[in-house]
């Protein structure tokens, strides 16, 4: 999940608001250090325990939320209007949160505890999380009985086939690429060649790739093994699309939904109303609930506005919440310091890890000493400051986030946790050894207020170490397009990446596999290290997730310490708040925010 493409602006300005986290000047700094530990506990209770559920675990209905009541209307305050409702186009987190209520896929994450910490991948529309007999090359799914679209038509394997085939159509360009790449067995965007126009011009995926022998059965056939398929299928991007109801580009505004809620009305940029979907049968759904009668979603609610409204806790807003808005920086310290207010909040890590990429394709940066000098010199404090201080950002040691299994808190090869402002002396010494004092370093930065702020301070830090830093602004909306061009001019540039499912297999391979270097791909630093490549192939075959996690962490440490193709900067954090009449609010580690499915009105 990159904070990428055209959504970069949205994502970035979300964090922008973070720039405002203010621990209060007169109060004398922040006083919530102990929360930190808890966040980490929250996050670390993560992935090892996620297992693939069997048919019994995949049978609905979902376990009741303690104390839950049915009925009532919930007010939802959101900052950004949803740009996409078509499952195939959903990749960003706010649309993902909405998708948990309206879309269903073959698999899904079932919460197995009431605090959002423990999960199991189970069959959602399918009877189980998938069966494979050959180590992950062939996967078989069987659809449950009684599953219907919101328009009452039954969901069949034809719809599932259509769902995957349309992912190849040119107009589907925002969603996740994993399964398409696996089906086509190619990295990057080449998979599109497999079915150029999608299913719309009569062509279909052949039986040696995707089989739908009857109305209930779907078989995926990959050329290489992909033990992660059940995770991938749980992404909102792979939720089922009605073959009959597919209106192509118009589907993005009015999809045929499957979840416990359907869209009653949607005014882009203004509001959305979700009502109960009567064709949703709880007995088929092990994951979701349908406690609330109606969700009134209003957009354009900036963080300060939603926080203020929810803090005021009056009228209809007592049953108010935001799926994705954070407590704004200005109120954060106040809210966390007041036990009464704090009880209405949930906090946790987001899946994103920030990193400063060093462009390995530039000859000047092939010298490892120079890269080490950058790593030592780069101050992280500007980054933490720009996003609002330690409540919103934690200095990172490695590339694997605390929310992903394998995270090692003690790893910190360049002493960033001790000296977050950088170590210019050490850097200067290295630069001298390399004989490159005063070398030119082009720093591409995202042109947002935060980007301007942290890039100037970072540049000042690098200058102290003897670099001649040239800052280049890049427009926010095309930032990721520009930095993912192979022949870009930037020596260093910052990106953030979040795991698509809580395994480093969605971090290390897409970002650091040297064979994946391509225009528009996510190997931003263009690192091509034979050892890393070999390790990726090796670990991808490990089926035991715990063992794999430990191996990924080793690759992470090798990259950061020995390859030095990027410098990790920060782990993103957030706190969310709801009105006093909202029940069932938990921070779900997989969603990376409030779990909308468990909410009820007290």
């Amino acid at each position: 999940m990159s904070r990428g493409g055209r959504h970069a602006y949205a994502a970035i300005s979300v964090l922008a608001a973070g720039a405002l986290v203010l621990t209060g000047c007169s109060k004398g700094g922040s006083d919530k250090g102990n929360d930190n530990k808890k966040d980490k506990e929250n996050a670390q209770r993560q992935q090892q325990s996620i297992k693939f559920g069997d048919a019994a675990a995949s049978t609905g209905p979902a376990a009741e939320v303690p104390g839950a009541k049915s009925g009532g209307t919930m007010e939802v305050l959101q900052r950004d209007s949803y740009a996409h409702l078509d499952p195939g186009q959903i990749y960003v987190s706010d649309e993902g949160s909405l998708a948990t209520l309206i879309h269903r896929g073959l698999t899904g994450y079932k919460a197995t505890s009431d605090d959002g910490s423990k999960h199991e991948v189970v069959g959602d529309l399918a009877t189980d999380s998938g069966t494979t007999t050959d180590g992950g090359k062939t996967w078989k799914y069987t659809l449950k009985d009684g599953i219907k679209f919101a328009d009452g038509s039954p969901i069949t394997s034809k719809d599932v086939r259509h769902t995957f085939e349309r992912m190849f159509a040119p107009f589907i360009n925002q969603g996740p690429p994993y399964i398409q790449q696996w089906l086509a067995d190619t990295p990057g965007a080449d998979y599109r060649k497999l079915l150029k126009d999608g299913p719309y011009k009569g062509k279909h995926l052949s039986d040696d790739i995707l089989q739908t022998p009857d109305d209930k059965t779907i078989v995926f056939k990959f050329k290489s093994s992909h033990p992660d398929l059940p995770y991938a299928l749980a992404m909102a991007g792979y939720a089922v699309v009605s073959a009959k109801g597919d209106t192509k580009t118009k589907y993005d505004r009015a999809p045929v939904t499957t979840g416990p809620y359907k869209i009653e009305s949607f005014k882009s940029g203004k509001s959305m109303v979700l009502v109960k979907n009567t064709n949703w049968d709880p007995k088929t759904d092990p994951i979701r609930h349908q406690y609330v009668d109606k969700f009134n979603i209003t957009f354009n609610q900036q963080y300060e506005a939603s926080t203020k409204t929810l803090l005021a806790d009056t009228g209809a807003d007592q049953a108010g919440i935001s799926f994705n808005n954070q407590v704004d920086a200005g109120n954060l310290s106040k809210v966390l310091a007041d036990p009464k207010l704090k009880s209405r909040t949930v906090s946790g890590f987001q899946p994103y890890v920030g990193q400063m990429n060093i462009n390995m394709s530039h000859p000047a940066l092939k010298d490892k000493k120079i890269r080490q000098a950058i790593a030592y010199a780069l101050p992280i404090t500007p980054f933490v400051r720009a996003y609002g201080g330690t409540d919103a950002m934690e200095v990172a040691g490695g590339l694997i986030s605390p929310t992903v299994s394998g995270y090692d808190a003690s790893f910190d090869p360049f002493g960033k946790k001790k000296k977050p402002a950088g170590d210019p002396e050490k850097a200067k010494a290295l630069l001298k050894e390399a004989g490159k004092v005063g070398m030119k370093l082009t720093f591409g930065y995202i042109n947002t207020p935060e980007g301007q702020q942290y890039s100037t301070a970072m540049a000042a830090g690098l200058k102290k170490a003897g670099f001649d830093v040239q800052r280049q602004e890049i427009p926010a909306e095309t930032y990721y397009d520009q930095v993912s061009k192979l022949d870009n001019n930037y020596d260093i540039f910052h990106t953030a990446w979040g795991a698509d499912w809580p395994s480093a297999s969605t971090v290390i391979p897409p970002l650091y596999d040297g064979r994946g270097i391509a225009d528009g791909a996510q190997n931003y630093s263009q690192v091509n290290d034979p050892k890393v490549n070999a390790d990726i192939d090796r670990i991808n075959k490990i089926t035991d997730p715990v063992k794999a996690a430990a191996e990924w962490e080793k690759v992470d440490q090798y990259l950061v310490k020995d390859v030095v193709n990027e410098v990790p900067t920060g782990y993103y954090k957030q706190t969310q708040i709801a009105g006093s009449k909202v029940g069932g609010m938990v921070y779900d580690d997989v969603i990376g925010g409030v779990d909308p499915r468990r909410l009820f009105v007290k």
Binding site: G5, A189, R192, K250, G269, P475, A476, D481
Partner: protein, 326 residues
């Protein structure tokens, strides 16, 4: 009168036409590719070309401009998103919404902001200005003049944030400015706009104060006014019967122009207070390289300015019979 209106309308149409050309060229000078924005993460050159084709960006600039004009005047059914009746500005690249619909959507915010503020600043400005002229030379006059001078030198980007900090964040006396539909909830409409109104009219009113005062004083020195005074008419009578009327002309002019440009989007005000009006829309359209939206907002703003220029000129005829519209 009719001839005047026709002539001016035609003139305005020519200006709008030229303006649309300038805006069009400006857009193609922008250092970003709107296709890239829509292409997403797994963008291949083929996909990009396809998007360019769908947007019509693969055509030459004159051709694209022709299509734009054609759609504007005659409407179009050629869009994926649905039919687009005239005036058709097409569909936004960014939100896929019809541009005309978006404009109409944002217009109530801007209209509410403008009209509320205009009522405030016109009355306050005229009132204080006349008072000041009436009491010319007294302490009242001096205070008003000095106050107006300072206030008119204030900037929204200073006064706005200051008011937000003092009245919203620190004291929590007022709601954070927001636009709420008047028909849905008049009270919240009012409370959401009160700070922007006050701030906007503070700055504008002081200009009107200065203007009203000086044009009133000028009028009082006009011969017909002095004659009336000499004939023994009371100062009050002369003040409100003669001078007042004459002093209106420059004020009406400025008021019309202000109204026109505010209705075209009070960019800094809307930006400062985060109000989703035309001004904010304009900034967003530039930010997202959204050509249809940019053209829509630009032409709409310019049309407002021109419309009010015509209205102002037409008003002279009513205020001052000496002015003939020719």
């Amino acid at each position: 009168m009719l001839r005047f209106l026709i002539r001016r309308t035609l003139g305005a149409a020519v200006i709008l036409f030229l303006l649309s050309i300038v805006a069009f060229l400006l857009f193609f000078g922008m250092p970003r590719d709107p296709g890239l924005l829509m292409c997403g993460k797994t963008c291949t050159p083929a996909n990009l070309a396809n998007i360019h084709h769908v947007l019509g960006l693969d055509k030459s600039i004159p051709e694209q401009y022709w299509v734009f004009l054609h759609n504007l005047v005659l409407g179009s059914n050629g869009f994926d998103q649905g039919p687009c009746p005239a005036p058709c500005f097409g569909y936004s690249y960014h939100t896929n919404e019809a541009v005309w619909g978006t404009l109409m959507d944002r217009l109530p915010t801007t209209v509410s902001l403008t009209l509320g503020a205009a009522v405030c600043f016109l009355f306050v400005g005229l009132g204080t200005g006349m008072l000041s002229a009436w009491k010319r030379g007294t302490l009242v006059d001096k205070t008003v003049t000095a106050g107006a001078m300072v206030l008119s030198s204030m900037q929204i980007y200073f006064l706005g944030p200051l008011a937000l900090a003092a009245l919203v964040y620190q004291s929590h006396l007022f709601d954070k400015p927001a636009y709420n539909d008047f028909t849905a909830n008049p009270a919240s409409w009012f409370s959401g706009l009160i700070i922007p109104w006050v701030i906007l009219s503070t700055i504008f009113a002081s200009q009107y104060t200065r203007m009203a005062r000086s044009s009133m004083i000028e009028q009082l020195q006009e011969e017909h006014v002095r004659t009336a005074r000499a004939k023994g008419m009371s100062r009050k009578y002369v003040f409100f019967r003669y001078a007042w009327r004459g002093s209106l002309i420059p004020i009406v002019t400025i008021f019309g122009i202000d109204l026109g440009s505010l209705l075209g989007g009070a960019i800094i005000t809307e930006y400062t207070f985060g109000l989703p009006g035309l001004g904010k829309l304009a900034v967003e359209s530039v930010f997202f390289s959204d050509l249809p939206l940019l053209l829509g907002v630009m032409l709409f703003s310019a049309a407002m300015i021109l419309l009010f220029n015509i209205i102002v000129d037409a008003c002279y005829a009513f205020i001052d019979p000496r002015v003939r519209l020719s």
